[in-house]
């Protein structure tokens, strides 16, 4: 089990290495963790960008177009969005295998479809569906409201003081003695 393997930094979870947030904060799907559950949505011609505070990740969703070739698996996958009335529908594929076990098992072959719909001046309904015939007999769905917050989003430069990674490995070496 990978998370119980302390052989070296590369085997540790992406969240410990500050590559993406632990849990499934940027996902997709985007799920809450202990803190930093804040998003900044920026709309520009041809793109919607979601800045995820945990872990200073920017999901760049292009509006229209084709997915990347199968052999390209960026962190957070490849997202293409389109508008259905007032709902932004986003389809993400090409997920990176390193993110498969972040929260739920979402393999690189999965397709995650998210829907963002403003339902009130201060609320967006966030819905998502995960489909993968190799892992799940049927697609599964969940939803949660995203509520507007007055405060700023802060930089979360996770790795600048990431003593934890070194300490975790050092602790494992100490236990081996």
């Amino acid at each position: 089990m990978r998370s119980l393997n302390f052989d070296g930094p590369e085997i540790r979870m992406p969240g410990e290495r500050c590559i993406v947030g632990f849990g499934s904060t940027s996902g997709p799907p985007m799920l809450n963790v202990l803190y930093n559950n804040n998003y900044q949505i920026v709309q520009a011609p041809g793109y919607v960008t979601i800045l995820v505070e945990m872990n200073h990740d920017a999901r760049i969703i292009r509006l229209g177009g084709k997915h990347l070739p199968e052999n390209m698996t960026p962190w957070m996958g490849d997202a293409i969005g389109h508008w259905e009335g007032n709902t932004l529908a986003v389809e993400t594929t090409n997920l990176n295998p390193g993110q498969s076990l972040n929260r739920f098992y979402i393999p690189p072959t999965a397709k995650v479809t998210e829907r963002f719909t403003r339902v009130a001046p201060d609320q967006i309904l966030y819905q998502f569906e995960v489909e993968d015939a190799s892992a799940y007999k049927q697609p599964w769905r969940a939803e949660m409201p995203l509520r507007a917050t007055a405060g700023p989003i802060y930089e979360y430069a996770c790795h600048e003081g990431n003593y934890a990674l070194g300490n975790v490995l050092s602790g494992a070496r100490a236990e081996e003695k």
Partner: protein, 147 residues
């Protein structure tokens, strides 16, 4: 949702997914020793106001039995501390504090001893919880967010 495991390894992984999130950066048990509580009294020498955790450095003065020793104590995340009204000026170098916490698993003090901080007590008796709720730290009654 019906889960169909493609292999034994994936089935085991799925069962342990609840534990996986605790094995991420916030795993108390991976880094600190719940059986090594510490009580440190000394002066703040510096505060590292950094991500993902703030670290408070404290110098514990020598006593007849022990030489002086510098410790670094892990606190919460600057983002959450800021949102709770604490900033890097809340704790200034030179202030005397008492820290409760748990020592790092490796027990190494080269160059500095390390601990996970639970709370600080100021000379006027005020307490400040600096731990990280929900990370698997011992349930020692110090966390005001624990029910």
């Amino acid at each position: 949702m019906t889960y169909r495991a493609p292999s034994c390894a994936a089935a085991v992984a799925a069962l342990l997914i609840g534990a996986t999130s605790a094995q991420a950066h916030h795993a108390f048990a991976a880094e600190f020793d719940a059986n090594a509580p510490v009580l440190l009294k000394g002066k703040v020498t510096k505060v590292e106001w950094i991500n993902p955790h703030a670290w408070v450095h404290i110098y514990v003065a020598a006593t007849p039995d022990k030489p002086g020793q510098e410790w670094m104590v892990e606190g919460g995340t600057p983002n959450t501390l800021l949102r709770a009204g604490i900033d890097k000026n809340s704790l200034r170098p030179g202030v005397d504090i008492v820290v409760r916490g748990y020592q790092s698993k490796d027990h190494l003090c080269t160059p500095i001893c390390k601990a996970n901080g639970r709370d600080l007590t100021f000379p006027d008796g005020r307490k400040l919880f600096i731990g990280s709720s929900g990370t698997g730290a011992p349930r020692d009654g110090v966390d005001p967010n624990e029910h």
